[in-house]
Amino acid sequence: MKDTDYAYAVARIRANEGKLLTGAQVEALTDAPSFERALQDLKNLGWLADDGEAEISAIIGRQNAALWDLLQAVVPDKDDLGALTALNDFFNLKAALKCMLTEQDPTPLYQMPTLLDLDALTENVNAHAFDRLPPFLAACAKRAFEAAHRTESGQSADILVDEAALRFLADKAEETGSDLLREIFRFLCDSTNIKVALRCARTGKDLSFTESAVGPCFALEKSVLCYAAVQGEAALFNYLSATPLSGGAALLKNSTSAFEKWCDDTVLEKAKAAKYVFFGFDPIAAYFFAKTAEIKTVRILLSAKKAGVAPEIIKERVRALYV
């Protein structure tokens, strides 16, 4: 696919970029005196449906669905979107496996957007027909199922799926012809690995477990990261302070949510390079990250408003904006 094949898609995406929330609009929403007022402001910005549905999950769900509908409508090759939804796809596989083992319905747990047929995923996992899953999930699903059976614990299955997801993302980072996506995928792998390593350090896991849980690294040295995690939290943060991700690590020391915000903001900062690209998939991927961050901001904002959180605290949590 040539970059110029995306001319239609990029023009539509640019038109939609003009509808993204601005800093002033987010500030006005943050300073809104009440949850109801924030909802009214969002309604004026076209965020609420005509039926006036005010449930936060419904508002967020509708925005996510609209984003996904737009992306699917504009991209000339839907396979392009696969890398963007990979983490959700692997998460959904984990949910399906876990619910199969506990005989529950996974539907409420599924994360959107995804390119998977979720009914088929549930059906195939329940029937142990892993070879009928998409090729990138099939082998990992089978291994995770066998591990869960062998150890009678969902944890080993989770680790296998999480590690496979990171490996998939790392492969995509190397395969993609886009510098922007490569940088973002590499960053996502590294930042997720930091979280995994910290979890291992806090739960006192041994080296072999940590090495199996941590995925491919780029700006980090996997062996050093795993060794530091086994030594404990202090050793882990000491190692991270000397890496390019030291800024995020310093935040993670005190707050997981601050680290999550740093990760989202860093991805968006990298995505901003696509503002100056007019052909190819980069502007579409950048819009995906921008809109996802915007939706997350509105979710945080509404939840905080509903709980009566002060605007100053909300401002610390809201994500950076693309526009």
């Binding site: 110029t4 001319a7 023009a11 640019r14 038109a15 970029e17 007019f278 052909f279």
Partner: protein, 157 residues
């Protein structure tokens, strides 16, 4: 040898139309795709994106004009076909090459600039003037080969 001269001149005319036409077709087609994307979000942008879509179409027109002049000068249009030596034919062919290749490349690149301009207008409709100006600058490099081809065709005795 008379027929060879005429054949070469006609090749020149064909080159001018075909290559400059390809440049325009690619350029206009690309801007058309971008315009469709912009209009599907905001149909009020039609006037602005139409100008951008028209710009890469001029190369094909320039190639067509040069080809018509070659047909006039060689008497093909009037039916009074001139006797051309192979050197004269080659001169006509050479005269057509600037607009053929200048038109091809400038049409494609102007199309890219104009398509990027459509994306700019889709996001910021008030920037249409700048988008049109940027795409128009590429036109200069279609006009130059057109002028050279035009002057050369007229100077061939």
């Amino acid at each position: 040898m008379t027929n060879l001269g005429l054949a070469l001149a006609l090749f020149g005319a064909a080159f001018a139309v075909i290559f400059a036409g390809i440049g325009s077709a690619k350029g206009v087609g690309l801007v058309g795709q971008a315009s469709a994307g912009a209009l599907s979000e905001d149909s009020s942008l039609f006037g602005k994106v139409l100008i951008l879509q028209l710009l890469p179409g001029t190369q094909g027109l320039y190639g067509f004009i040069i080809a018509i002049f070659v047909l006039i000068r060689t008497g093909i249009l009037s039916g009074d076909v001139a006797e051309l030596t192979w050197v004269q034919g080659l001169l006509y062919l050479a005269s057509c090459l600037p607009i053929a290749f200048g038109g091809l490349l400038s049409g494609i690149h102007q199309g890219k600039v104009a398509a990027a301009g459509v994306s700019l207008v889709a996001k910021k409709p008030d920037q249409s003037g700048r988008a049109i100006t940027m795409a128009s600058l590429v036109e200069f490099y279609a006009i130059l080969p057109f002028l050279i081809s035009f002057l050369a065709v007229f100077r061939i005795g």
